[in-house]
């Protein structure tokens, strides 16, 4: 009885892994392969696995000149990547500075209007982009903020701050308060306790939400498109600028995707070890 259910579980698990890998990772592999193909090779009825890879897509992006049926077009993809990096990093940094103390406050203190403030910050996410984008564009232009990193970083806070705040709040609530109390009783100030105890113990949550915020800022399309000119445009807009009236250069876009994923993937690999910690284990008797 036991062995058959074990085999059943094993088969089930294997199928699960298979399905997940196929569904999520096959397209990634495909995109990766496409980045080494020319458009002719891609747009073939029967897809081929064996082909001679070409670097022309990557070279075009790195050099900044792509060949289209209509002639040679200038693109600034590498600049786009840099922009994305600047925008996303600054946004996440600002969000961390503003959001972590606030998340802590909501988790630990019951203060008047506290839940209202928390909900209000959350409510900024309710505003659909298209609702505010035209007025924003208007005001930014009036204030001369059009085309500035600063303005976009601020707008991105509306996306990242509620997310980080509510996720990290949950993690702070799971950190045992007594550990913090003990540290205070040892003679340390509130700030030291916050910095050396609370934050390290909430690290998995902070790591996970920082990564997610970075990704969401990186992938944002609508705001960047309308609120910035080409000099600060991130990759999302940049990638779609390859599309001309005559053709969609899939190989080029695929190469663009691969290039744009590299910074984010690097960040994920760095953060990954923080994602695996469950620090509350064993230090506090439940």
């Amino acid at each position: 009885m036991i062995s058959s259910s074990n085999t059943l579980t094993k088969i089930f698990k294997f199928l699960a892994y298979f399905f997940i890998i196929m569904f999520f990772l096959f397209p990634i592999l495909w995109i990766f392969m496409m980045s080494f193909m020319t458009n002719d090779e891609i747009l073939r009825k029967v897809p081929t696995i064996i082909f001679s890879p070409t670097f022309e897509n990557y070279i075009a992006l790195l050099k900044g000149k792509i060949n289209t049926p209509a002639g040679v077009m200038d693109v600034f993809y590498m600049q786009n990547i840099l922009n994305s990096f600047i925008l996303s990093s600054c946004s996440v940094l600002l969000t961390l500075i503003l959001g972590i103390p606030a998340a802590y406050a909501f988790a630990r203190y019951k203060f008047k209007g506290g839940e209202d403030i928390a909900f209000t910050i959350l409510s900024f996410k309710f505003a659909p982009a298209l609702l505010i984008i035209i007025p924003l564009n208007l005001y930014f232009t009036k204030l001369g903020l059009y085309d500035s990193y600063f303005a976009l970083v601020w707008v991105y806070q509306l996306i990242t701050l509620p997310l980080l705040l509510w996720i990290v709040r949950g993690y702070f609530e799971d950190v045992s308060e007594d550990i913090e109390h003990a540290y205070r009783l040892d003679g340390h100030s509130w700030f030291k306790s916050f910095w050396k105890i609370s934050i390290p113990l909430a690290r998995p949550g902070i790591a996970a939400s920082s990564l997610i915020c970075f990704i969401f800022a990186w992938n944002n399309f609508v705001f960047a498109l309308i609120l910035g000119s080409s000099s600060i445009q991130p990759v999302t807009v940049g990638a779609l600028s390859f599309i001309t009236a005559s053709a969609i250069p899939y190989g080029l876009i695929a190469a663009g995707i691969v290039l744009s994923v590299i910074p984010t993937l690097t960040l994920a690999l760095i953060i990954q070890k923080y994602l695996v910690e469950g620090l509350s284990l064993g230090a506090v008797k439940g």
């Binding site: 007594d178 550990i179 109390h181 003990a182 205070r184 040892d186 003679g187 105890i197 620090l279 064993g282």
Partner: protein, 359 residues
């Protein structure tokens, strides 16, 4: 002289009144035990003293100075938590060193002091372990070490020996007071075990019903508890409490409880008609012989324990009491024969209708 003083403390959580006008005075260097059942507020008391929690009203004084406005890190008070509260991301050494680091002690001095207190508590061999690698007993002692390493003026110990194996518990019951006496620390020690209270405390405060019902030397609390609640908490098996009625003529009172009749000259008993009689199981003597003044009882159940045997006995009118006899004594009792009990009147206590002790 009074070193730690709480005056008229009130604390409640929603509808639950934890402290109702509680006051207490602890002397410098005293080993004071706070004893009470779970939920009685012992831990809350410690949290109020340490500054982690604030009282609704009332004041706390240390060495004559009101410390209510001081943050936990500003009070010269240490605490060992019941659930250890060790820092999971630091090893035992760093955990213990933490208070010294807060005081900006030099690294050499830190090493020396941590080593010192770790040896005292027999955890010097696990100093490099992280909390999750320590046994419960080791965690408890690490937590203890952390609270003692700075030689604070006041140390709050929240049931520190509860999660420790028996052997170490007995050892620590001897060691701990010695160590603390050496440091001349004022200790507030919380426990749920009355035997521990009796073994350790110079004075015991029994916390029940939102206040201290007794604050006295443990033997005195045991002998003359201020109310039935204290009486029941202090003693195992629990004290027998019987309903009794009293007829007084002049100074002489005749109290009847079930088949027991007692005469007393105590003037305080005069005006009490209905009261309670308290008699401890260990004060009841069992015999198979009907000695003078013995009362016949029926054996209902017998529970042999480690060093004594507990008997459940029933009077002819159905009232039941517990009696306990030592191992040797129980060997002399034949369960098949008749049972008779006797007791010494001086070991009895009377409580009035409001459950308070009649002196």
């Amino acid at each position: 002289m009074s070193y730690l003083e709480i005056k008229n403390i009130n604390k409640r959580f929603k509808d639950d009144i934890v402290f109702d006008d509680v006051s207490l005075s602890v002397n410098k260097g005293e080993f004071f035990v706070v004893f009470g059942p779970s939920g009685s507020g012992k831990t809350v008391l410690l949290r109020l003293l340490s500054g982690i929690m604030s009282q609704d009203s009332g004041q706390i004084f240390m060495d004559g100075v009101c410390i209510d406005d001081l943050d936990p890190n500003e009070r010269d008070i240490s605490m060992a938590f019941q659930n250890f509260a060790l820092y999971p991301h630091m090893d035992a050494f760093e955990n213990i060193a933490s208070p010294l680091i807060a005081q900006k002690t030099s690294p050499d001095e830190i090493k020396k002091r941590v080593q010192e207190v770790a040896e005292l508590l027999k955890i010097d061999h696990v100093l490099s372990h992280k909390p999750k690698e320590l046994s419960n007993g080791q965690k408890q002692r690490t937590s203890l070490a952390r609270s003692l390493v700075v030689r604070p003026s006041v140390v709050l110990l929240d049931d520190p020996l509860r999660n420790v194996d028996a052997k170490i518990r007995y050892e620590m019951r001897l060691e701990l007071p010695k160590v603390l006496k050496e440091f001349n620390t004022t200790v507030i020690y919380v426990t749920q075990d009355y035997k521990e209270a009796m073994a350790l405390g110079e004075r015991v405060g029994v916390l029940a019903n939102s206040n201290f019902t007794d604050v006295d030397h443990p033997t005195h609390v045991y002998k003359k508890p201020n109310n039935i609640t204290s009486a029941k908490l202090f003693g195992d098996p629990t004290i027998n409490v019987l309903n009794a009625s009293n007829i007084s003529s002049g100074d002489l009172s005749t109290i009847t409880a079930s088949k027991i009749t007692i005469e007393s000259n105590n003037p305080n008993l005069k005006n009490q008609r209905d009261l309670f009689l308290g008699i401890r199981p260990e004060d009841i003597q069992i015999s198979n012989q009907a000695h003078e003044g013995a009362i016949k009882v029926e054996l209902r159940a017998k529970t042999p324990l480690n060093l004594r045997t507990v008997y459940l006995l029933r009077f002819e009118d159905g009232v039941e009491v517990l009696a306990s006899a030592s191992e040797e004594e129980s060997l002399l009792i034949d369960d098949q024969k008749d049972f008779y009990i006797r007791f010494d009147n001086s070991n009895l206590n009377f409580f009035d209708q409001s459950e308070s002790l009649i002196q």
